[in-house]
Symmetry: C2
Subunit: 223 residues, 2 copies
């Protein structure tokens, strides 16, 4: 990056190409029904806008959402977690860092029924297995690239988020709660590798996203 | 309708108050993850528009969708199948008929986890039980009201749709396939109690909805 930028515009010397995963994924149990979550893609969109505003290039890999991402970003649409991982791996090759704000569905049925399951009045037992972890898989192969993860926790929040930071080879972990999902607002803690709380941020998703991008810029891009 | 051709507006003598269920429902397995389907509410919205255009009063009970229903309709928002049933039962009391175009999630976990299920690397066994059938429950208590159901089938389509027509006490059953979900188009068969195919309709959802409302008007409202 950056070759065109050197004369007369020092701003651009820190420009990065950022990969953003965003939105939910879907794991079908039959042709009609699927497991998912209420992720709206709104935080991913706000981060993309903040990154574009800071002069970065943005590549988004997004599950199904009805939000409109900034036109300056390149968007790759996916449906399942496996698809998100495959496309994200391809794109990560050409990026400087990853912000994994997607909420991939992390369980899928062991067997997917080819036809719509008909109701019989009897219980239905569904054997679910874990899908691959997108951020952990990319993190394990990050080399000199940086990785920012998001953790959505409902209990032992900081402990679980720091465990994920470690396991997913993240440089920073953004901790939030389920109240963030499909909301206009967010309230997050930014955690660093040494376990410290870098910042506590609260406000509209665009405001929180700008502040996160500021921290990412200072700690990971200009570093 | 043709009522407009007679002076002094006898159109209104055929006006009905129609209850429409629309959209998907969600059944949570923990505070974050849920089972659902890709129903967009688009067919429900088109039917509401056609019913309003035909001079009827429309009450909608809708699961979470991002579509905008006609402003002339009263909309009650729900999340789960049980909520849809409860609100629909209250509203059906004051209506002349029901068009059940919603795609309620028809399984729910026997136990809902209070905290987000943490990944352990092990399979997760989910015991699902059937949710109450909204149209069948309203149909069983319909008295002199009419009921139009929708059946989304992937195999033995006409047979299964007619079985549902009978079991759900419907006067007409609209049969479609999974390709209708979250699509702009639809292709349906309108089936009657005697097993006959009243009509085969194909086109944009607004076109198909207008034709369905025409049939409902002639066969059920003016009858």
């Amino acid at each position: 990056m950056g070759g065109i930028l050197i004369p007369f515009s020092p701003t651009y010397s820190f420009m990065a190409r950022i990969l953003l995963t965003s939105g939910p994924t879907r794991q079908y149990i039959d042709p009609v029904r699927y497991l998912t979550n209420a992720s709206s893609g709104r935080m991913g969109c706000s981060l993309a806008e903040a990154a574009v505003a800071a002069g970065h290039e943005v590549v988004i890999v997004s599950g199904p959402v009805s939000i409109t991402y900034p036109s300056q970003a390149t968007v790759h649409w996916v449906d399942t977690t496996d698809e998100m991982l495959t496309v994200a791996q391809q794109q990560f090759e050409h990026c400087d860092g990853l912000i994994g704000v997607a909420a991939p569905c992390d369980y899928r049925p062991e067997f997917v029924q080819g036809q719509k399951i008909a109701k019989t009045g009897q219980p239905l037992v569904l054997q679910l297995i874990e899908t691959p972890d997108v951020v952990a898989t990319l993190g394990a192969d990050k080399k000199d690239r940086w990785v920012v993860g998001f953790a959505l926790e409902t209990e032992d929040r900081r402990f679980r988020a720091l465990t994920k930071l470690e396991k997913k080879s993240c440089d920073l972990m953004i901790l939030n709660g389920p109240e963030a999902m499909n909301s206009e607002e967010n309230h997050v803690e930014v955690l660093a590798k040494d376990g410290s709380v870098v910042a506590t941020l609260q406000g509209s998703k665009p405001d929180v996203a700008s502040q996160i991008m500021q921290i990412v810029g200072e700690r990971l891009i200009q570093a």
